[in-house]
């Protein structure tokens, strides 16, 4: 004869679980990003063109758009010809293509450059070469990174949204101009 046991209702003790959960909340909040981070893909700095690249250049003539950031403005050139250079010269060493928006301001004033004019210049080239997406950006040694990033933004187009193209495989929107940046050392 077996004994009859009465079924007892046991209530789960939730307090230890609650304690862990309450500790997890501040830990996760601390680990969370407060600012939303993004990334700009860049191609590595080129120190010299390789033999293969030289061969490609012979086969087809690309726009070869270059932006050189100087302390006194931007020098913009395409296919080896600087925009706004004196007649008969490929580059004008005295004056930049786009002068500073705020001349006389220190280098750490990131708004000293005329990003709007650079964007307009990029739009002109994009209209002439709609399939071109590459720009080579170089700068003088003292130029701050924020200016380089702002320059990339201006060349890409301020209304350019690449999220869809990068994550969902959509086509790059037409607002995006030169979104593939190559960072080149000491060119110009």
């Amino acid at each position: 004869m077996g004994k009859k046991f009465e079924e007892e209702e046991i209530e789960a003790n939730l307090l230890p679980v609650m304690n862990i959960m309450l500790l997890l909340i501040p830990a996760l909040l601390l680990a969370m990003e407060i600012a939303r981070m993004a990334a700009i893909a860049v191609s590595p700095p080129k120190f010299a063109a390789t033999a293969d690249q030289k061969q490609d250049e012979k086969q087809e003539k690309p726009l070869n758009l270059k932006v050189f950031i100087m302390e006194d403005g931007y020098r913009v050139s395409a296919s080896g010809q600087q925009a706004g250079a004196e007649a008969g010269k490929s580059a004008d060493s005295n004056s930049p293509t786009i002068a500073l928006a705020k001349p006389g301001t220190p280098l750490d004033d990131y708004d000293r450059y005329d990003y709007a004019s650079l964007g307009s210049e990029a739009r002109k080239y994009k209209d002439l070469f709609p399939h071109e997406t590459v720009v080579t950006i170089s700068a003088e040694n003292s130029i701050p990174m924020q200016v380089l990033i702002n320059t990339m933004d201006a060349m890409r187009g301020l209304d350019c949204k690449m999220m869809g193209a990068m994550t969902a495989g959509e086509e790059v929107p037409p607002e995006c101009m030169f979104w593939q940046a190559i960072v080149e050392a000491g060119a110009g």
Binding site: L14, L15, V17, M18, M21, L22, L24, I25, L28, L29, A31, M32, E33, A35, R36, M37, A38, A39, I40, A41, V42, S43, P44, P45, F47, I69, D108, Y110, A139, E140, N141, S142, I143, P144, M145, Q146, L148, I149, N150, M152, D153, R156, L158, C160, K161, M162, M163, M166, T167, V183, A185, G186
Partner: protein, 179 residues
Amino acid sequence: MTTEAEQAFIARKAAKREGRRGMQEEKAILGMTSLMDAITIIVTYLLKNYGSDPVVIAPTQGQKVPLSKADTPIQDGVPIYVSERAITFAEKRVVQMDETGQIDPAALQGHLIGPLYDLLAEEADKAKQMSEGKGEEWEGRIILVGDQNLKFSVLVDVMYTAGRAEFREYAFCVVQQNG
């Protein structure tokens, strides 16, 4: 002088008091289920947010990450923190900067930053072995977490060094600007 209504009210109160005297005090039980539900939802939301980023970027003290209109999400890669004070990799201060924000000349051989190269090459070897083990192709992506005021020459040196350590893809980490 009390009215009839007041007398009736006092009588009712007295009757209630009498009735309560014989009753046992009730034990209040804290309802945990609803609180548990709320906390579970918060923890799940936070865990999801934490797990959706492939890399956790934690800038070093005093580092001001550049602002940009770019909206491309950060892909998996190896972060290098370059501030005006030092280059930090894998939570180690690899190279100190001088007062002008330039790399210590003792650590520099041309464009190559020696101590950073050693660590990056080691990291690249490890990552390659891991990728081979998984049967995947190694992407070799560097995430450069710079500073707004970082000089272009330093940036180029870091990129050159990463290139020498066989990293092929580069991304600048930026703080997304609204609008």
